[in-house]
């Protein structure tokens, strides 16, 4: 009997550790022999905490939304008596969440114990490294990557083989391999999940890249905000060294490669390659002009190849199954699969990996189960602060690099935030500009000042002080910021504004001309009111109101005194009778 507990960051946030403790307590107090294992995130974050009970015949039962109380019942019935508690098991409907996917980068996430190298090895781990060391020349490895058509999963979608080849041909030594795990895009968490759930696949991918380009040292530049990922990477590196998959003379093939972790210090711009290198060198993370590209002059001025976490996680699979098998998946120009972090107003939020070319609609409705509370979808945001909002009318767009770019958004690292009719698109644009304004490193004037000016305009529109000329001004600034910035941050910062202006201009106009927020989100343009017909005079809103501005007495409908109302929304949230209205 084996019990597996999903303990990614999201599983832990949902109470996974308490469930684990409860399981360990049950095992101890009952004195039975049950193997308790930890696993990474399976991607069904909306069902966490999740545990798997595997009996001696290997039958796997998945329990979802587990609490310590349910753990006790599972032990009483399932583990002691073999009786499955179907009321807590995963619903058939939720199974389609996994069945609709094709998992390559996430092949081991949630399946193996990320802290056990043996489980990784059992699932063909480090066999790809063995294959390249024993059977392939570096040129053949690069050729295989070329056949696979793998493109960078961090955002820009640059062909991986091309970068490897450039670093291989570059003069200078030593050379370096860097894994970009500075996942700063708000709304994307696939890199965290891969690092937490399957760290060895990234290490193996890096070692293969090291062999291909002729590097002996690798760095993983990982966000300091991901403490669990760092911890699991440290364990994985130590295990790989002990087994001889990292270090000197790997597998007796004369190839040396080791990996160091560098914790980032919290700067979104460090996702940009040259800024990342500056940060690795201990400097402020400011981008520089390219060329020279990092492949020629990177870390410490030496040839450096930088790939994203998800890109590396794909590499061992490609080597083992062949580039052709990978290229058979996806569309003409976008091969393989892509991991998306599905979140926002979607029913089943989590990580999904789908073949390139699937439509946005299928991802959101077939896999994601549609919109929360069955509201109407308004848009989906792809690519984070560098991306854009794709309206409902374009949901048939297939997910591949070129098609997404045509809509004005970008694939980005794969954050997919679903928005319903209660999301204000002007506020969304303001939100992203606020982010890029804070994260601009300050080097280029257009980015440093342009984002600030754009933000000011958006803020004034949200506050009902917008003028008709503002939209033109926004568009003009957007073009200048794009053109006047050195790196991807500034070049893409106006995208959220441009796409919302393109698809949701009417919302901007409603804010400016009618002083109304159609989504009822912008505080300055809304007012709260209690519907006297629906009010049951329970007084809960008045008690909860932080500024004591709700008056009333038993038997009389309550009333909000608007002068003092801070529009915090507390009354709306606590009212059990739906009597609070926003207008």
């Amino acid at each position: 009997m084996k019990v597996v507990v999903g303990l990614g960051s999201c599983g832990i946030a949902a109470g996974g550790n308490k469930v684990l403790e409860a399981i360990q307590d049950e095992v101890r107090s009952r004195g039975i022999s049950v193997d308790v294992q930890k696993a990474g995130c399976i991607g069904m974050c909306y069902l966490e905490p999740i545990i798997d009970v595997v009996d001696d015949e290997g039958n796997r039962t998945t329990y979802v939304r587990v609490t310590p109380e349910i753990v006790k019942e599972i032990f009483d019935n399932h583990i002691e008596k073999g009786k499955v508690l179907s009321e807590y098991t995963i619903a058939e409907d939720d199974r389609s969440y996994i069945d609709g996917q094709m998992r390559i980068a996430l092949r081991n996430c949630g399946v193996i114990d990320p802290e056990s190298i043996d489980e990784y090895i059992e699932r063909d781990g480090y066999r790809a490294l063995e294959k390249v060391l024993k059977e392939m020349t570096p040129e053949q490895v690069i050729e295989e990557m070329k056949i696979s058509g793998l493109r960078g999963r961090g955002g820009a979608g640059f062909p991986t083989w091309f970068k490897w080849n450039a670093a291989r041909s570059a003069q200078g030594s030593p050379k370096y391999v860097v894994c970009n795990a500075d996942e700063g895009d708000p709304g994307a968490f696939m890199d965290r999940s891969v690092l937490e759930g399957d760290p060895h696949s990234v290490l193996e991918g890096m070692a293969i890249a090291g062999y291909a380009i002729g590097a002996e040292q690798g760095f993983i530049y990982v966000r300091a905000e991901y403490p669990l990922a760092i911890k699991r990477l440290e364990i994985a590196i130590e295990q790989a060294r002990q087994k001889g998959f990292l270090g000197k003379d790997i597998m007796g093939a004369g190839f040396c490669f080791d990996v160091k972790i560098k914790a980032g210090a919290g700067a979104f711009v460090c996702g940009e390659e040259t800024a990342l290198i500056a940060s690795l060198e201990g400097e402020r993370g400011m981008p520089r002009l390219k060329p020279p590209f990092p492949a020629q002059k990177g870390y410490m001025g030496k040839p450096t190849n930088i790939n994203n976490v998800e890109t590396f996680a794909n590499v061992p699979w490609i080597i083992l199954k062949g580039g052709k098998a990978f290229a058979a998946i996806g569309t003409e120009k976008s091969k393989g699969t892509k991991v998306f972090a599905l979140a926002g107003k979607v029913k089943k939020g989590g990580l999904v990996e789908v073949p390139m070319g699937l439509s946005l609609k299928d991802v959101i409705f077939k896999i994601g189960g549609g919109i929360k509370n069955d509201k109407k979808i308004k848009a989906v945001q792809l690519g984070g602060p560098s991306g854009g909002c794709i309206p409902e009318s374009l949901l048939d767009t297939p997910v591949d690099y070129e098609s997404i770019v045509k809509t004005g958004a970008i694939m980005g690292s794969g954050g997919m935030i679903v928005m319903d009719e209660t999301t204000c698109m002007v506020d969304m644009a303001r939100f992203f500009l606020d982010f890029t304004r804070k994260e601009s490193c300050g080097k280029c004037t257009h980015c440093r000042l342009g984002t600030k000016r754009m933000l000011e305009i958006l803020e004034r529109i949200c506050e009902g002080r917008g003028e008709e000329s503002d939209l033109e001004l926004l568009e003009e600034l957007a073009v200048n910021v794009k053109g006047g910035s050195l790196c991807g941050l500034g070049q893409t910062a106006p995208n959220p504004v441009l796409t919302t202006l393109r698809y949701f201009r009417d919302e901007y106009e409603a804010h400016i001309k009618d002083k109304k927020c159609p989504a009822k989100q912008c505080k300055a343009l809304i007012a709260y009111r209690i519907d006297a017909e629906k009010c049951r005079s329970c007084g809960l809103c008045a008690r909860k109101c932080p500024v004591n501005t709700i008056r009333g007495s038993k038997g009389q409908p309550y009333e909000i005194i608007r002068e003092n109302c801070t529009k915090c929304g507390t009354c709306l949230e606590v009212c059990r009778f739906g009597a609070v209205a926003v207008e």
Partner: protein, 175 residues
């Protein structure tokens, strides 16, 4: 310290100049002295030691690893992770990533501000809590999320967030 036009530098005016024990930094400095490119790591470890980066420690680091104070201050103020002021015993990080924003992170922050009677970035008078809005904690499916002392709390409502704080407060003060 004054600059040439007789005004106090921003950093010196805005951040406290507290007496700190510089000897506790020695193990860190010993490990990284002479290794190029390790300034960020040294600052991260120094922050682990003190809980923030005291002004005197920054000058000390600059002297000891042989870089200009300007560069140390430059790096220390560039990255969001570094703090130049002491923080409370419990650091509350409220996620303001896209998913959390869409799901009402603003309401969580305003509830916490109200509960603790501080603003974003401030510390309570009793030194127990510091409130900080952060970009993204990567737990987007559980939005809105906050993290306190490394532990994440998901699917928050303003009331739930208040309860978490009250629990910690009760544990700390017995009240």
């Amino acid at each position: 310290m004054f600059c040439c036009i007789g005004e106090e530098h921003g950093i010196e005016k805005n951040f406290p100049d507290e007496e700190v024990d510089l000897a506790v930094l020695e193990p860190v400095l010993k490990e990284y002295r002479g290794i190029p490119g390790s300034l960020i790591t040294v600052l991260q470890k120094a922050q682990d030691v003190y809980g923030y980066l005291p002004r005197r420690a920054l000058y000390h680091i600059a002297r000891e690893i042989g870089v200009k104070p300007a560069k140390v201050f430059g790096v220390a103020t560039f990255y969001a992770q570094f703090r130049l002021k002491p923080v409370g015993k419990h650091l509350i990080m409220v996620c303001h990533g896209t998913a959390c924003h869409v799901n009402g992170a603003e309401l969580i922050t305003s509830a916490l501000c109200d509960e603790l009677n501080i603003k974003d970035g401030e510390t309570t008078a009793d030194g127990l809590f510091t409130l900080q809005n952060v970009a993204c904690l990567g737990c987007c499916s559980l939005a809105p999320v906050m993290m306190i002392d490394g532990e994440a709390y998901g699917k928050l409502t303003p009331d739930k967030a208040r309860d978490v704080i009250r629990d910690i407060y009760r544990r700390e003060t017995g009240k």
